[in-house]
Structures are given as structure tokens and as C-alpha cells.
Symmetry: C2
Subunit: 442 residues, 2 copies
């Protein structure tokens, strides 16, 4: 029995605590509805800064406030920890479980905002050697691998093997890949300066691979060129038109732009190449006949609902809408809010808001400290000014979170100084949390 | 071959990056020696604040700066990541390994400062259900269990089972146990206030168990009584003269002060009851004939060396010296510095400093915000004044660390407000780092 079975209020269930889910819930704060937000994580993740957790600038708590703490004053929301295993669209219920407890929650309206995870394009075996960067656990894993690789290099007496430990490969030249490559360079050239006695961390080899002929292709040709130039200045090798053939413990096998096979030896590979929408997308497609693409995204109507189910919304990274799927935070926020508004309008028997429109506020990516690229409307910015805008916007967007002040402080330490606070790891710890063990030597 | 084999300088090897090892290394900063510091963790842990990481106030990086970063400007130190598996006292070498690489390091002088780990008094099976609080990994594990237990309670429809999730048991009434019990009360009554819709976190049951008739026994009768009173005021059940008979997934089985068996149902048990010195102690005892007690501590001479081996020092939690083993940070710091000084004196053919003397600067423990106990010389303090002194001293001792400012900030947020920054967890994450899964339901 749903905890809301006795309630006469309209019950909205939201799946996911990311940008789509959280902003939908907040949009409903004054609505005469009961809301249940179900999520498999206990926090709202500010994903655009996840790479800073992976590279030791920020702590996980600074970008991941507990969802129930963010929403504690919104009395019409109940937050439920749980992995959703089933949605019954005709019976209007959601089944979730956590800690061995299974909960069935009935709904009147449903907003599915379960987001996307890393896609290895049919090669799940890559996951073990090349973590993605979608969740806090990914970031903690990468942090241990990155700093662990330098530790192993310092220990390794064989120069060839040492070079393998000091080789880092980032697969995928989108914003996440570019930001990771830039940060790896900063870690090697600045953060670790003077820390070692055998190796010089600045000798680290950082390679960014992309299958297309551009990095940050979505930012346009000029910014793409500028980004590649800046990365090269930072000592990053940029391999374009390079197709990944295989990833294993020895590194990455690629087919280069001349069609020749090449091998980049590395013990630390970051996978920033693809995303796969939550499997709930496929489940919804099967029940409603909505089209689901290869990346698992559900084709929604102009109003973000499923065919024949005006009470079911799919938003954010999980949706394809008018053939588009930008997969950015702004789309998730705006689509989540739109769905919430539509629910209230239907409830109040008011006219629908009309089809969903995405207002593109622009996109930006940091390459290194003091260098960013920004594409805002028709304006293209590069360098320090873009970086300043990036800084202000990110501080502004963090405003909802308690930790913005310490975050700004950690940025000051990291950008103006040369240190990073978050590098603690444990070798072969008694348990699995925060264990700091470089990947095994083959 | 040791990397220092060609060097003609006296080579000091230090095992451990805790208070003993780090302060020994720092004390040698101007000495004409080469130093290798070997540690299985990459950081120096400020252990007195570990309970604040476990309960979500501080991030792990704030109390665990990388050892090699702390020592980066001290050019005579090399930091080596590695678990020490062997010490050859006659051959004067230390064998360590990490990342599958084994390193043998020769020494002229050796300082063994490998510290202590949790002891389950012959019941290693307790470890799985009742983590200790000795390392960063322990703190991260406990953090996930504590906040996970409240999540599970919110989900659990059965009131009896819900009460089990909301029952927390701390075994051991020393400083760590008292601080954990006090913080658990603050988490339940303040931090989580308003966060849940089904449970009231303030209903949590927190039990502190000790086998003796006092909590904080080493602080003297009056402070002990005051501490117990304050804990009871915070809603903590204090069970004294209670002997732990068994710990399993259902909770703790005790023999109470009347000799009757009792069972405290709980899904989250913290073990703060005992310590066991590093197994390296036993290894040294076997080779040198030094006495090793049941807790693995090595009996050292007045000058902290081993019988027949004036070049081998054992310091901190690993030593028993004149029958004493206070096991506190100050002893580790002072004994580490003493050993370093002695090495320099012997090297310069100067007189030894005389036997080691421990200058007791006093001890303190926080019970909750604004309440602490302090025993300094003959002065006994309790309450707000003790807490202020605690605050000032801890800020002062953190001065060596980059993060003292953010730490003070997180304290302000947590002491003056009601929030804790570090609660992020992942349910059934793809990998093991930072995984947030409450212990399984039986």
C-alpha cells in the first residue's frame, strides 16, 4: 500500500534526483500535490563539477548535497532511497528497492528523470579498466587511480613500466573529456610539483582521443581550434579521427587517422566518450510504444509525455524531443520544470503551456585555470574572460548549496596556489570504501 | 638495490606516516641524513578528528593531507607508498610493496612508527558488522552506514525493524567512543531534523557500552561523571560494567552489570573498544628478543631502542616504555622527535639526550558542540570553556595543514547551524568506492 493511499491529493512521483528531478520537485513547492521523489543516490549531484572531485580539488560533499536536506523545508515532498526496478504505466505504480526493502508507490502523475550513465558502446568489459565520470563513485575511483598511478610510477624501477604508469588517456573530446585532460595536465605540472624524488610528475603523458575531427565539436569550429591549441600548449597530445579499437589493462588500441593501428600504453584510462540513458527508458518504450533510440532515449511528444499517457513525462537526458537530445543540465532543468508546470495546469483544468521549448543559455567548458571556452547565443568567448564567466556562473548555480563558500575557497587554493585538498587514499584497506589501490599490474 | 646504495649519507628509514613517523621526519629536516618514509597510506591522518569525518562534518581530505605534499620542500625525505612485510634487523633492511612492486630499502637507522589498528580481542568476525575508527576507510564506511541506516528506517514498514535501523551502539567508552556517541546524538537530533517524512530521526536510540564502571576513565572520576551526565542529557544510554558477549548482524549481546545477558538490537555498531599494535611489533620481538605484549606493543629501552639494536627505534602506539603506553598523539609526536634527535646525536658523536620523558600536555574530548572535557595537569575543565580550549588547540594543531580554513568553516556551519556537508553516498554503485549500501537485512 502506498503511504499516500489515504490521501486525496494528486500524487506526483518523480524518479531521479538530478537536475531534472530536483527542479521538477522544487517547481511543485506551492502546488496542491503530494510528491514522492525516488532516487538510487541520496544526493543531488552537481555533475558539471564532477571532474574537480576526480582530480582532487573538491570533496564529494561539496557538489553532492543530500536531496532530503535540500528539500527538507518543502513539506509536500517525500524523498525515498531506492533503485527503480519497475514502472507499471497502466497500473500507475513504481516499484523500487533499497536495503532489501521493496516499495510500491502509486502515482497520479509521473516524471521520469533517471538520467544517463556511461556507455561503452557494446563493450561493458572496458568499464573495469576505463571508468566513466557520471557519479560520485566514478569520481572517487578515478581520484584513487590518478594519484595511485603517480605513486606506482615512483616505485617502479623499470623505466618502460614507469612510463606506462605516467601515461593517462582520456577517451572522448566533449566537455568532460577536455576538462579531464586539462586537469590531468594541471595535476601533473602544478599540483604534484616537488612531491616526488624519483619521477618528475611533469613528464606525465596525457592523451585525448576523439573519433571525430574536432574537440568540443558542438562549440563550433573556431572555439574547437582554440581549445585544441590550448590543450597542446598544456602538453596534452590531441588525437583526432582516432577510433578506439580496444581498451585493456595495457592501455588503448586505436585506429589512427591514417587507418593504422596504434597502441597507447597507459594504466589509467578515463572514458568520457558516450552516454546511455537509464534502462527505464526501454521499459517505458515497451509499455507505451514510444520509440527508444540506441542510446536508450525515449521519444516524447511536444509536451514531453508518452503516447497515450498524458500523465507520464520523460525529461532530461532520458528524452529525445523533436529529434533533439542535447544532454545538458539546462535541458534537464527546463524540461523538469515544464513537466511540473503542466501537471499543475492539468490539475487546475487550465490550458496547457504549449509545447516545450528549450531556451539555450549557452554552453561552456574550462580547459585549465584561467582558460575556458563559452558559446552564448552568437557570442564565442575564449580564454580568461570566458573563464571568469564560467567562475561566476558556477558560483551562482552553486548558490542553492551550503558549501558554496568552501568551494570558492578550495578553488582559490587550487587556482591561485598549486595544491589540491582531496588526495587521501588507503592502500589495501580493511574494507572497500575509499580504498586506494592502483589497478593491478599485468 | 636501495636507491641510496651509492649515497654516503646516513640513511634513516621511517615506517609510518602518523604522528610518530611524520614528526620524526620533520625533526630531521636539517640533519645531514637521507630519509625514506614508508607508509601504506598516502596521507598523514589527523586521527583525533576522524570521528568528524565518520559523522559528516569534515571531508576526508581536510584531516588527511598527502604525506609527500606536507614534506615536499624537505629535500632529504623520500616518501614511498608501501605495506611493510618484512624488517631484517641484522641485515638492516625493510621490505615493502605496493601496486605489485616490491622494494627493499637498506637503512642505517630505523624508526618504526606503524601505529595501531582496531582490536576485536580475538573476534575478527566482529569487524564485518562493527567497523572500528582508525583510518579514513573506516570513517567512510561508518559514514555510509550511519546515514544509510536512517534511509533504511524511512523505507522500512515494520515498526520493530525500523527501530533496529534507528538503534546505534558504540562499544567502548574512551575518547573515541564518547565522541562518536555524542556526534550520533547530534546527527539524529539536529542534522537530520526535518529531513524525513515517515521517521523522526530524533527517535534514534544511541547506546554507549563500556566494560568498566566509568566512561573516559583516564580523565578521573569527576570528569567521568560529568561526561556520563552530559551524554545522558543528550539522550545517549550509557551502559557501564557491561561486557560484550557477541556482535552480529542483529546487534550486540552483552552481559549487563547484574550478570544478566541482554541484547541491544542494532544495525549499526561502532567498535571503539580496543587497539592492536601493528604486526611489525611481533616481528621485531621475534628478531631481537624484545618483549611484546598481548596488544602487540614492543617493550623498548629507556631510549626507545630495541635490546642490542641501538639503531632501531620503536615509537608511538607501537611501544611500551617503562610499562606505560598512553596511546595518544602527544606520546607519538614526542617519541618520534626523540628518536630523530638521538639519531642525529649519535651521528655527530654527541652525548645521548638521556632517557625519553613524556611531557603530558593533558587530554581532552568533545562530547557535543559547546561541551568538552579537558584534563590539563591538575586542572579539570568541563563544558563550554573546555570546548573553547579544545577548539583553539585543534585549530592550532591543524595549522600545518592547508585546509584549516575550510575546516574552521565547516565547523562553523556544523556547530552554529545544523548541517553537515559530507553525506553523499551511492546505492549499489558500479564500483566499490564510496558505495552507499546499508548492511544487509538478515
Amino acid at each position: 500500500m502506498s503511504p499516500h493511499a489515504l490521501s486525496h491529493r494528486h500524487h506526483v512521483v518523480i524518479i531521479g534526483s538530478g537536475f531534472g528531478g530536483l527542479f521538477a520537485a522544487k517547481q511543485l513547492r506551492k502546488a496542491d500535490v503530494d510528491i514522492t521523489l525516488v532516487s538510487r543516490i541520496n544526493h543531488h549531484l552537481f555533475q558539471p563539477l564532477l571532474y574537480q572531485v576526480a582530480t582532487g580539488i573538491l570533496s564529494e560533499g561539496e557538489i553532492a548535497p543530500p536531496t532530503r536536506d535540500v528539500l527538507r523545508r518543502q513539506r509536500n515532498v517525500k524523498v525515498l532511497l531506492g533503485e527503480v526496478s519497475g514502472i507499471d504505466v497502466s497500473g500507475r505504480s513504481v516499484t523500487s528497492s533499497a536495503a532489501g526493502i521493496t516499495t510500491v508507490t502509486n502515482y497520479d502523475s509521473l516524471i521520469v528523470a533517471a538520467g544517463a550513465d556511461t556507455s561503452y558502446f557494446g563493450h561493458p568489459e572496458y568499464a573495469k579498466v576505463a571508468p566513466g565520470l557520471k557519479g560520485i563513485d566514478d569520481a572517487m575511483e578515478l581520484r584513487a587511480r590518478i594519484f595511485g598511478a603517480f605513486e606506482a610510477a615512483e616505485l617502479e624501477p623499470d623505466p618502460a613500466k614507469r612510463a606506462e604508469w605516467m601515461s593517462f588517456v582520456v577517451v572522448g573530446g566533449g566537455a568532460t573529456g577536455v576538462e579531464m585532460a586539462g586537469q590531468l595536465s594541471e595535476v601533473a605540472r602544478r599540483t604534484l610539483k616537488g612531491n616526488f624524488r624519483v619521477i618528475d610528475p611533469a613528464d606525465a603523458r596525457i592523451t585525448l582521443i576523439d573519433a571525430s575531427n574536432l574537440v568540443l565539436g558542438s562549440f563550433g569550429y573556431r572555439l574547437s581550434q582554440k581549445t585544441a591549441e590550448q590543450l597542446i600548449k598544456l602538453g596534452v597530445e590531441v588525437w583526432l579521427n582516432a577510433r578506439v579499437d580496444d581498451v585493456d589493462e595495457t592501455g588503448v588500441h586505436v585506429i589512427d587517422d591514417h587507418g593504422h593501428p596504434a597502441h597507447i600504453a597507459s594504466r589509467c584510462v578515463v572514458w568520457a566518450a558516450g552516454v546511455q540513458a537509464s534502462p527505464l527508458g526501454k521499459l517505458l518504450g515497451e509499455q507505451t510504444g514510444a520509440a527508444v533510440d540506441r542510446a536508450g532515449r525515449v521519444a516524447v511528444g511536444d509536451d514531453l509525455t508518452l503516447p497515450g499517457h498524458p500523465e507520464v513525462y520523460v525529461v532530461g537526458d532520458m528524452m529525445t524531443w523533436r529529434g533533439q537530445n542535447p544532454g545538458v543540465a539546462q535541458v534537464a532543468i527546463q524540461s523538469g520544470r515544464y513537466a511540473a508546470d503542466q501537471i499543475v495546469r492539468r490539475l487546475n483544468r487550465r490550458e496547457a503551456r504549449g509545447p516545450f521549448h528549450y531556451f539555450d543559455k549557452g554552453s561552456m567548458a574550462t580547459i585549465s585555470r584561467f582558460h575556458a571556452v563559452a558559446s552564448i547565443g552568437k557570442v564565442r568567448l575564449f580564454g580568461f574572460l570566458a573563464w571568469l564567466i564560467w567562475l561566476v556562473i558556477h558560483i551562482f548555480y552553486l548558490v542553492g548549496f551550503k558549501n558554496r563558500i568552501t568551494t570558492v575557497f578550495h578553488w582559490a587554493i587550487s587556482f591561485l596556489g598549486d595544491s589540491r585538498a582531496q588526495r587521501a587514499g588507503v592502500l589495501q584497506g580493511a574494507n572497500q570504501s575509499a580504498t586506494f589501490e592502483p589497478p593491478p599490474v599485468t
